[in-house]
Amino acid sequence: MEIYLPIAEMSVQWIVILSMGLGVGFLSGLFGVGGGFLLTPLLVFYGIPSGVAVATTLSHITASSISGAVAQWKKRAIDFKMAGVMMLGGLAGTGAGVWLFAIMRRAGQMDLVVSLTYVPMLGIVGGIMLNESVKTLRAQARGNAPARIHPTNHVWIHGLPLKARFRQSRLYISIIPPLVIGFLVGVMSAIMGVGGGFIIVPAMIYLLRMPTNVVIGTSLVQIIGVAVVTTMLQATSNYAVDIVLAAILVVGGVIGAQFGVRAGAKLRGEQIRLLLALLVLGVALRLLWGLVITPSDVYSIAGL
C-alpha cells in the first residue's frame, strides 16, 4: 500500500514508515531518548528529502516523548524545574541552529559538520556509558555493592555561580551547566532533527549527577519543548513539515513508545545504560564509516 506525501511530493510504502515509527518509538520509550538520531537517517535512507525528514521527525519525537512523559509523570519521575531551565537554553540554541543551518547548507558542508561533531561526541558519550555500566554490572555479578558515583569528580561545576535547588533531583547546583547543555542540544535539534535525548540523558547522569530515575522523564519534557518550537520554525520558515508523513510516524511512535516504557520497567538502570551505550556507539561507528570509506560516487546532487 502506497500513500502520497503532499510536502515531500513522493509516494511511500506506509507500512515501512509505520514500522520505522514503531521501532524508533520503542527505543525512545525504553531509553528516554527521542530517537531522532535514528529516525532522520532512516527516512533519508528511504528516500525522503533530508529537509523534510529533519523537519518531520520532530513531530514523531514530540508525540512519542509526550506518550513517554505521561507515563513518567505518573511515576512522579520528572524534575520540571530542571526541564524548564534546560528548555530556556534550548530555545536560544534552536534560534542559533536555524541560522547555522542556512549557512552550512549554502556552503554544502551540512553532512560533514554533522558527522564531524557527531562522531567524537557520540563516541565519547557512548564509551563512558559503556565503561560505567559494564563496571557496575560486573560489581553486581560479584555481589558487591554498586560502585557509587562521587560528585567530587566534577568540582568545577559546583564552583559556578547562580546556584539553584532542584528538589526532585536532590541537587543544589549552578543553572549554568543545564543552560549550556540545553543550548547545545537546541542547536543540534534545529540542524539535525534530533531531540537530543541521547546527549541530554548522559549529560544529566554524568555531568549533572541527576538520579537515573528522574533523568528519563525530565529529558522527555525538555525534548518536547524544543521539538515543538523547532517544528513551528521549520513549518513557517522552510515549509518542510509533511503532515501525512508526520501522522504515520506519530501513530507508530506512540504505540512503540508504550511498549518501550514497559520493557524499560523490567530492566535495571545500568542495563538500560549498557544498551543505550551500544546503540550510541553503533551510530558513531556508522557515521565514521561514512566519513572514511571511499564513496562509490564522489559526485552527489542536491536541490532538485
Binding site: 502506497e2 500513500i3 502520497y4 503532499p6 510536502i7 511530493e9 513522493m10 509516494s11 528516500g47 513531530s59 514523531h60 514530540t62 508525540a63 512519542s64 516523548s65 509526550i66 506518550s67 505521561v70 507515563a71 505518573k74 554544502g108 558542508q109 553532512d111 560533514l112 564531524l116 515543538v228 517544528t231 513551528m232 521549520q234 513549518a235 513557517t236 515549509y239 513539515v241 503532515i243 501525512v244 508526520a246 501522522a247 506519530v250 501513530v251 506512540v254 504505540i255 513508545a257 508504550q258 514497559r262 566519513l291 572514511v292 570509506i293 571511499t294 564513496p295 560516487d297 564522489v298 559526485y299 552527489s300 546532487i301 542536491a302 536541490g303 532538485l304
Partner: protein, 249 residues
C-alpha cells in the same frame, strides 16, 4: 527558452510539401492523489502526407517529454586528512526535472551527433542555461545525468517508439511517483535523413488534487496554523496513546 525558440523555428521552417506529423497524448493532465504511485501516459500519432515520394530512406520518430526547469547543485567529494569532504560544486540551472526520450532506433542511427546537438535532442545534449562553477562543469553535468538516470527521472529508450502501421506510431511514457509538479512538454519529432521534417509540442500538466492539494496549500498559505495543527496532532496522539495503554497494573 532557447529550446522553445529552437522548436518554434523548426515548426515554421518545416517544408510544407513534406510529410506532416500529427500527434496527441492519452492524458494532458496527471492528477496526483493520495494513492498516486506513478502513471503511464501514451503518446501516439500519425505521419501524414506523401508516402511514396521518398519511401526509400528510413524515417524515424523521437518522443521527448521534458519536465519543468530546475536548479541542480552537484558536489564533488575529495579526501582531506583521511576524511571525505565536499570540495567543489557546480550549480546547473535550467536542467529539466524530468527527461524522457523514446525513439524508433538508437539516436546515433537517426541523425549525426552535430544534428542532435543542434536540435537539442538526447540526454547528452541536455545543457544547463547557466552554470555557477569555478571549474570545468562537464564532469558535474555528467554526474547529474548519471544520478538522475539512476533515479529514473532521466530516461532514454531506443526502440520505445513503435510503428503500428505504415503511418501510426505509439510510445509509452512512464511517469514515476517522484516527479515534480508543473508544466511538462511532450515533443514529437519526425526525422528523415538525419533532418527534422516536422515537429509538434503539446503541454502536459502534473498537479496535486483533492486533499493533497489542500494540505499543500495549507502548508504554504497558513504556515503558522499548519505548524500548530501538526504539533496539536502529535500532542493529542501522544496523550491518547498513554490513556489507551494504561499500565497493565
Amino acid at each position: 527558452m532557447r529550446r522553445l525558440l529552437c522548436l518554434a523555428f523548426l515548426l515554421i521552417a518545416s517544408p510544407v510539401s513534406a510529410e506532416q506529423l500529427v500527434s496527441g497524448i492519452s492524458q494532458d493532465l496527471i492528477q496526483i492523489t493520495s494513492n498516486y504511485t506513478g502513471s503511464d501516459i501514451v503518446v501516439f500519432g500519425a505521419v501524414e502526407g506523401d508516402q511514396t515520394a521518398d519511401s526509400r530512406s528510413p524515417r524515424d520518430v523521437v518522443v521527448v517529454v521534458r519536465g519543468p526547469d530546475s536548479d541542480i547543485t552537484v558536489r564533488r567529494r575529495d579526501r582531506v586528512a583521511g576524511v571525505w569532504v565536499n570540495r567543489d560544486a557546480a550549480n546547473l540551472s535550467g536542467m529539466p526535472a524530468y527527461y524522457f526520450l523514446a525513439s524508433t532506433r538508437p539516436l546515433k542511427d537517426i541523425a549525426p551527433p552535430d544534428a542532435l546537438t543542434h536540435y537539442n535532442i538526447g540526454l547528452q545534449n541536455l545543457q544547463p542555461d547557466a552554470v555557477h562553477s569555478h571549474h570545468d562543469y562537464e564532469p558535474f553535468r555528467q554526474a547529474a545525468l548519471r544520478h538522475l538516470t539512476k533515479d529514473r527521472l532521466y530516461t532514454e529508450t531506443p526502440g520505445g517508439v513503435e510503428f503500428l502501421s505504415e503511418t501510426l506510431f505509439r510510445a509509452h511514457v512512464p511517469v514515476p511517483a517522484e516527479v515534480t509538479r508543473g508544466q511538462y512538454n511532450v515533443e514529437v519529432y519526425l526525422f528523415r535523413d538525419g533532418v527534422v521534417e516536422s515537429a509538434q509540442s503539446t503541454p502536459l500538466f502534473i498537479d496535486q488534487t483533492g486533499l493533497e492539494r489542500r494540505l499543500f496549500n495549507f502548508a504554504h498559505n497558513q504556515p503558522f496554523s499548519y505548524g500548530l495543527a501538526v504539533v496539536a496532532m502529535a500532542v493529542i496522539m501522544g496523550w491518547i496513546s498513554s490513556l489507551l495503554f494504561r499500565r497493565p497494573a
